[in-house]
């Protein structure tokens, strides 16, 4: 069986053309990137605003809990069904899917951004204001850089969520790597199905690795604990565990 999967993956015919791996991979990345960017554009400023001002914290608890309970497949089928009839064919499946992906990616980014900003050392924040920083300067020069580890792990969760759900979206006729799984299933072609699963897993892993590299690059060494590390309080651990490892796939 393993050999059949390797055979399927190494067959050049499976790599080219509009049904080929390269094209599917590009599609998958396209949907994912668009959705992640839109979700970040919404969730980052909102999370920063709520964390900085302390206004609207009810949104955080509400969104974090209720969105996690929403089944992604249910949301996908419902929104595609509702919207596809009234949309031109070219985006009939893409737009509803992107909406669902964005909806599912917002909570991890939002809650982690909020938690990151909120968990910034109260003394550092106090000192920042005391030295004459304006609210905006405190947010951009102190709170956000200090919150980056949590913010980026939120983005990582969101990216994994998006890639996983984009795979499922092949069920509602979207392109991308999920097609191999869905088509393989429909055609009783198990090697194709398993190869699709392998490709999706590898993609998810690579994207996560890239984001880890980004995290290494943008987060200050003063925060990463590669030097002296202060022990985190249980509250922070609680928030971290919940927020970074959250979300269904």
């Amino acid at each position: 069986m393993i050999n059949q999967i390797i055979d399927w993956l190494t067959d050049p015919a499976h790599w080219s053309g509009t049904e080929g791996i390269v094209h599917r991979l590009v599609q998958h990345l396209e949907y994912s990137a668009i959705s992640l960017v839109i979700a970040a554009l919404i969730a980052l400023p909102l999370g920063m605003y709520i964390g900085h001002t302390g206004k609207g914290t009810f949104l955080i608890a509400g969104i974090a809990n209720s969105f996690r309970a929403l089944p992604s497949l249910g949301l996908l089928t419902l929104i595609v069904l509702v919207m596809s009839g009234s949309l031109p064919f070219s985006i009939a499946y893409l737009l509803p899917t992107v909406i669902v992906l964005v909806l599912l990616a917002i909570p991890p980014i939002l809650t982690n951004t909020y938690a990151g900003i909120q968990n910034v050392d109260a003394e550092a924040r106090d000192a920042a204001y005391g030295m004459g920083m304006t609210g905006g300067q405190v947010l951009t020069q102190v709170e956000t850089p200090c919150a980056l580890p949590l913010i980026i792990s939120g983005i990582r969760s969101a990216a994994l969520q998006i890639i996983a759900t984009a795979t499922v979206a092949a069920y509602v006729s979207l392109g991308g790597l999920g097609r191999f799984v869905i088509d393989g299933l429909a055609q009783q072609d198990f090697p194709q199905m398993a190869a699709g699963a392998v490709l999706v897993a590898v993609l998810a892993l690579l994207v996560d690795l890239v984001l880890i590299a980004v995290q290494r690059f943008v987060v200050s060494r003063g925060l990463t604990g590669r030097y002296a590390r202060t022990t985190a309080s249980s509250d922070v651990i609680e928030a971290e565990s919940v927020n970074t490892l959250s979300t269904a796939r």
Binding site: M1, I2, A61, N65, S66, R68, A69, L70, P71, S72, L73, G74, L75, L76, T77, L78, V80, L81, V82, L160, I163, A164, T167, V168, Y171, V172, G178, V181, I182, L185, F190, M193, A194, G196, A197, V198, V200, A201, A204, L205, D208, S233, S234, I237, E238, E240, S241, V242, L245, S246, T247, A248, R249
Partner: protein, 215 residues
């Protein structure tokens, strides 16, 4: 919607039952494995980083892909519910190992030392002192895992394993909103009920925290 429910009552009941089993069985399996492994990761800090890395790796694999891998690894039938249970147990384990380790790490040192000084040791200290104090952190992880499981189970409908997710696939094929809406509501209710139960159990286990607001 009501007529749909009454027309399909027995099927709905069977799917709900399966959904409960497929969500909860992995929870218990995952938690039972995560407790000793998490304890190891906390006790021997050397294994913490590799364990968290490996479980993190597991967590990146999209659920649909993992469901497909299972028959390959286990030699089971593609439609077997065992695939779903094992796959979700792995996710649960991945999430809870770190939570358990972090939860145990959150027990203040002076408390552990005081317990040792009073004569607790080894397993006794773990069960009577450390685990109870770690309950809030572990419970937070269990809540996330449970709610995620409920949603993840429905993805298995694509492969054809019977549970509430079937409402989404059949509704989509029939272009019919009612079963999809019903499925979403059913999943959310299940998730909320499980969440409430875990919250209740946590409160019973941690009477000293009752004054505090729940997050």
């Amino acid at each position: 919607m009501l007529s749909y429910i009454s027309d399909n009552a027995s099927t709905l009941l069977r799917w709900t039952g399966w959904h409960v089993v497929l969500s909860l069985a992995p929870l218990f399996i995952g938690l039972a494995l995560a407790l000793p492994i998490g304890w190891l990761a906390n006790r021997y800090r050397l294994v913490y980083a590799p364990l968290v890395a490996v479980t993190g790796l597991l967590y990146t694999i999209p659920s649909l892909a993992l469901f497909v891998f299972m028959p390959l690894i286990l030699g089971t039938q593609i439609l077997s519910p065992v695939n779903i249970i094992i796959a979700l147990s792995l996710y649960t384990l991945a999430l809870l190992v770190r939570t358990v380790a972090d939860g145990l790490a959150s027990v203040p040192d002076d408390v552990t030392q005081a317990a040792t000084a009073m004569g607790y040791k080894g397993l006794g200290r773990l069960i009577r002192v450390e685990l109870p104090i770690a309950v809030p952190v572990i419970a937070a992880g269990v809540r996330v895992a449970t709610v995620s499981n409920v949603s993840l189970v429905s993805v298995a409908a694509i492969i054809g394993v019977p549970q509430l997710g079937q409402l989404f696939t059949s509704g989509f094929q029939l272009q019919y909103y009612t079963p999809i809406g019903l499925g979403i509501i059913g999943c959310v209710i299940l998730a909320l009920v499980f969440d409430a139960i875990i919250l209740g159990v946590t409160k019973v286990l941690t009477p000293w925290r009752r004054q505090e607001a729940t997050p």
